[in-house]
């Protein structure tokens, strides 16, 4: 089967005004699970080098959005590009640019930390000459140098998450995608992860797209945030801008409450029920 080399041409719609493409660009992206509209015609632009947060309650469409960006879900309607590359047309080329850490703590417990990272180094075609140095550097950067040769099954939750970050970083991704990076971690482990992400962007200028439902996390990490609710983006800006709109002393929580009309408290659609029904619809479809 003859297959063309991976396309890396930047289509006109994906190119930025200055010629340089955006790190992520979504144009009227829509995603449905059956009748349920998980993502409703969103437009989104992530600039190179920024930490961008998708913020919202469970069921807001955050995870679906990033699963479209990272090529896991097919694009049904709308367009998505990563550094100017059309995600629909050239998923393989996009994957080369990505580091992805899913919501679930997911490592191979029967391998050591180093073997876990080495596995992904190979899957990302890190050249043999550089491999062990880059695996070591990624582990070092995540503070796992000493635990590297222990089985990952013996790691704590925070260490597993940092190991996953090391797996994602070994590819030197241009875009790091983190889905709820600190959900389920205790406060100390959470601080550890925040600190590493912060260090990482300071030292590498990597673009980061993350989702979270912790306002505090968005406030601490993100240059800009988009508040999502019921599949739509309700507000967009720097955490400071969003808070300033509400006046002195407002927190992102307040912003959120205003944007969602207080529904967050009532848990009408954002709760476990909505998630379950979405998942049910999704499994019926597949």
């Amino acid at each position: 089967m003859a297959r063309a080399p991976e396309e890396v041409a930047v289509p006109a719609w994906a190119a930025g005004p200055e010629g340089g493409p955006a790190a992520v660009r979504c144009r009227s992206l829509t995603y449905r699970f059956g009748d349920h509209v998980a993502v409703d015609a969103i437009d989104l632009e992530v600039e190179p080098g920024e930490v961008f947060g998708l913020l919202g309650p469970n069921g807001a469409g955050k995870t679906t959005t990033i699963r479209v960006v990272n090529t896991l879900l097919p694009i049904a309607a709308g367009r998505v590009s990563v550094f100017g590359i059309d995600v629909h047309r050239s998923p393989m080329a996009v994957r080369r640019l990505l580091g992805y850490v899913p919501q679930q703590l997911s490592i191979e417990a029967a391998l050591t930390g180093r073997e876990n990272v080495g596995w992904f180094a190979r899957l990302f075609d890190v050249p043999r000459r550089e491999r062990s140095a880059r695996v070591g550097a990624a582990l070092q950067l995540m503070g796992l140098a000493e635990a590297a040769d222990r089985l990952a099954g013996t790691y704590s939750g925070g260490m597993v998450r940092r190991l996953e970050l090391a797996q994602a970083l070994v590819n030197r991704p241009a875009l790091l995608i983190l889905d709820e990076p600190t959900v389920g971690l205790d406060p100390i482990a959470r601080d550890g992860v925040w600190q590493r992400v912060e260090e990482l962007r300071r030292s590498t200028g990597m673009t980061v797209l993350l989702t979270t439902h912790y306002m505090e996390e968005a406030d601490a990490l993100c240059d800009r945030v988009a508040l999502m609710h019921l599949g739509r983006i309700r507000a967009l800006g720097t955490p400071q801008e969003l808070k300033a709109e509400l006046g002195e002393g407002a927190t992102l929580e307040d912003v959120f409450r205003r944007c969602t009309g207080g529904e967050l408290d009532q848990e009408q659609r954002g709760g476990l029920r909505a998630i379950r029904s979405t998942r049910r619809t999704a499994s019926r479809l597949s």
Binding site: T71, L97, Y100, L123, R202
Partner: protein, 277 residues
């Protein structure tokens, strides 16, 4: 302390264009190698598994084989029954490892590892082929144990390293096919316990409906038909040719096994996407 080895390209455009333009198929050998290596690493950390899995084939050889040798119930010509049985047990131990391999992919799905694998630049068929051969690697470890036990029991096995290598290739292909079958079922049922049930259900018909324990010539017609479409029979036939120099159809056997692997990889790759949703 940021390390120089990880300095990321911030806006990757330039770097991007310089990235190696791998075509789809160029990645396959490297991916298959990677999954086999990971399997070996896992095996190294869990050696008890090797021993526990070796118990069953050893029982087949020692208990079933020795007993049936004595009663001469199965016509195997001038070949001792134990010699005749050894290749069958080797193929069977590969089958038993591989037929439950889909559980691993369901486990990886439940643990979120599969989504991460699917976001690496790995074509789905390469992922499946890699996992299939990784199952082969695991089966290979059993084969070594069974070969050693056979030698201890006095089975006269080939000494030709090329034929031994050929036998390993045959087991690799056979196990790869059954692993693909297992992953295909995994893609259909999506649940670990259901896969276990189906695995149990099809293992014995595959085993008894093959020439692993007795020659095709003594089977009733309907079982012969099953054996003719059963890749395990071709695997055993090839192993008998290579290991104990029985007349066999090596060309046909390799052809059927290669075709089975190709069909299995295609089916499983088409279904693996269902596991990622």
């Amino acid at each position: 302390m940021p390390s120089a080895a990880l300095d990321a390209p911030p806006a990757a455009s330039a770097e991007l264009r310089a990235a190696p333009a791998y075509r789809g198929w160029a990645r396959f050998p490297s991916r298959v190698g990677t999954f086999c290596l990971v399997e070996l690493q896992k095996l190294r950390h869990d050696r008890t598994e090797l021993l526990t899995r070796a118990v069953q084939p050893v029982l087949w050889l020692v208990v079933f084989g020795e007993t049936f040798s004595r009663i001469h119930a199965i016509p195997t010509g001038h070949v001792p029954y134990l010699d005749y049985l050894a290749p069958g047990v080797i193929a069977q131990s590969g089958l038993f490892v591989a037929i439950f391999y889909g559980i691993q992919i369901i486990w990886e799905r439940d643990a979120g590892v599969l989504t991460k694998l699917l976001v690496t630049p790995t074509p789905r068929a390469a992922l499946i082929l890699g996992k299939a051969f990784a199952a082969g690697v695991r089966a290979m470890a059993q084969v070594v144990v069974v070969l050693l036990v056979s030698l201890l029991l006095g089975v006269s096995l080939t000494h030709d390293p090329l034929q031994l290598l050929g036998a390993f290739a045959v087991v690799m292909m056979g196990s790869a096919f059954f692993a693909c079958l297992s992953m295909t079922v995994a893609g259909l049922v999506l649940k670990r316990d259901r896969l276990m049930g189906i695995g149990q259900m099809i293992t014995m018909p595959l085993f008894f409906g093959s020439n692993a324990l007795y020659p095709v010539s003594i089977m009733p017609g309907w079982l012969r038909a099953l054996s003719a479409v059963n890749p395990l029979s071709y695997e055993v036939d090839a192993l008998r040719g290579l290991l104990i120099h029985q007349p066999s159809h090596l060309g046909l056997d390799f052809g059927v096994l290669a075709l089975a692997v190709a069909v299995g990889v295609t089916a499983a790759s088409l279904l693996v996407g269902r596991l990622s949703r």
